[in-house]
Symmetry: C3
Subunit: 244 residues, 3 copies
């Protein structure tokens, strides 16, 4: 079990991503570890997604390094040979939602105050094609198209309805349930399960691998636009005000 | 709001398509216009689809011109930068359904006498691949496969069940609801929404652009077959009899 | 109506596949035959899928011949010009499920003791990409991904929920219902229906045709691994014990 613990909101900063990546690689190479459950040690939030401070007022080099780290975590997580279960015990917008979507199974606490979704459009930014591909694979094209355009966040019960999460449980049952699901998946022979997973996900993974540098360049060009920087600054100020 | 008014059934004749196209282009270039609601000024019918008289007993040149106009309206509508909402206040078979499918959101009057679907197969003709692609993107592969083979028309309540329309409302609430939906979509920053929409629809749009002349040739070859002309003539006579 | 009768479980042996293929070809070339209903003459089982004895302890040449026969039956069935209806009157795992998935419509007896699914992973083997493509086309990517990794078998009522089968009926109504469905599909003009079906399925069919020899080679390499042979032998012994 891997617990995200980067208060206050488990935002995916460059440091967080780097550490996440190293931990994941270690587990992947540890033959004794066949599966991993992701959950949060921070109350009410699974992960708030990409850290906006990494995308605001930094150098081109920094943007490139940050984006490469985001790509890397997704490539490792979506392509993992391990069984991956997301035990979503809090809200999970944007990049937090991507982490959950990249797992094999998603269990969420049935609290309607916790919401999940790819809400990038609400910040005036655009989810990259591989966020979109991952999303379409889970909820289908129509729901993805509408949700991405509106930047929709769904309360847990709604997210269940169209399969954005697989199951809801009361908070106190989350860990137990996640362990039971893991046991069910680990009952299958690893080799066949891994080949099957790779068959299902290879096309989407290969697409980013083939366009990785281009995708970094796109991100840099987009994020360094003055209009985008301005909306991100406004969004951060709004967050600060809300907090205080 | 754009109201289709071509009695008796808003069929998509060459004239209608040409005017539709010009109006759409004007709105698209008008920076003050960020969204458009499509509805019908004719009672009980949204649009009856492609005008069969344009496909029957005409010259090859006419078929080509007509088909190019059908392609053009779809390319503009499906690829529109504006928010597009279909307020479906009547039946909407074949090409009428395509117009609705090409919008960002579909609201339909909850009258079970109004039906919607791609029923081309019932007339002995075949929906082209881009009708199919648009349909699959909304309802998924399985529903599309079955519905296209059977030429199914669905009463509004059934269409809602599998997402062919997004919402049903009483007829008197349709306009109000369409305005509310439009307001919700316009609350998002245009730039991010447009890039997201383009990301979702580009592959399908590009496919027609790449095969446009081939698709026109296919249509001409198919429609000018004597067997097809015969079934279209029979269908038109049936419609005339039913009317009288 | 074609009745599978190869007791005890209608397993798809090389002999069965060869005969199935010849029968199908005959019907396909018989212009009087526009549709076929597949069902089982063996109680409680539609088809148990590929015959494991054909994959165990045989020569490379035998594996190649067997796999080519499996490919051939799928190419003919999935690409059939006829209307194909599966009247699933018993359990239908693995290859049996593929036969049902390849039809235009699936009716299953509403007995929860009858289950259906692609459970290859449970045997430690991997469904090939064209099983996967066929499955994804029917149930969508997410359900397919989860079900294939877990090798899930679904009782009839669950299979209905996500569209793995189209309809459930009491056993005594199965034949009547299958005939009614066939009549509904045959009411459409053949030519338009066939072109539509081909448009929906061509990409998936073409993919196997383009990679057929490679797919045979993959199968041989995989199945002749000692670890795979061992799990198949164990599985067969388990089946024998269960029987006695």
């Amino acid at each position: 079990m891997m617990k995200f613990k980067s208060p206050p909101v488990n935002s995916l900063s460059l440091d967080f991503l780097t550490e996440f990546c190293i931990s994941l690689e270690k587990l992947e190479n540890d033959r004794a570890c066949r599966g991993v459950i992701f959950t949060s040690a921070v109350p009410k939030i699974f992960s708030s997604g990409l850290d906006i401070t990494e995308m605001c007022g930094k150098s081109m080099e920094h943007y490139a390094e940050f984006w490469r780290a985001v790509q890397e975590i997704w490539l490792r997580l979506y392509g993992s040979n391990m069984v991956t279960v997301a035990a979503v015990n809090g809200s999970s917008p944007a990049g937090g939602c991507l982490v959950a979507l990249s797992c094999d199974y998603r269990i969420m606490v049935e609290n309607p105050k916790f919401s999940i979704g790819l809400n990038e459009a609400q910040l005036g930014i655009v989810a990259p094609f591989w966020f979109k591909d991952t999303f379409v694979s889970v909820v289908g094209h129509r729901i993805a198209e509408r949700s991405l355009q509106l930047g929709s966040l769904y309360p847990a019960p709604e997210a269940l309805k169209f399969g954005l999460v697989d199951e809801l449980v009361p908070e106190e049952k989350l860990q137990e349930k996640a362990m039971a699901v893991m046991a069910q998946w680990l009952a299958l022979p690893d080799h066949a399960r891994q080949l099957t997973k790779s068959m299902m996900r290879k096309a989407v993974l290969d697409r980013l691998v083939a366009h990785r540098e281009e995708d970094i360049q796109n991100f840099i060009n987009f994020i360094s636009k003055e209009s985008i920087q301005k909306s991100l600054r406004m969004y951060m100020e709004m967050l600060k005000k809300r907090k205080s």
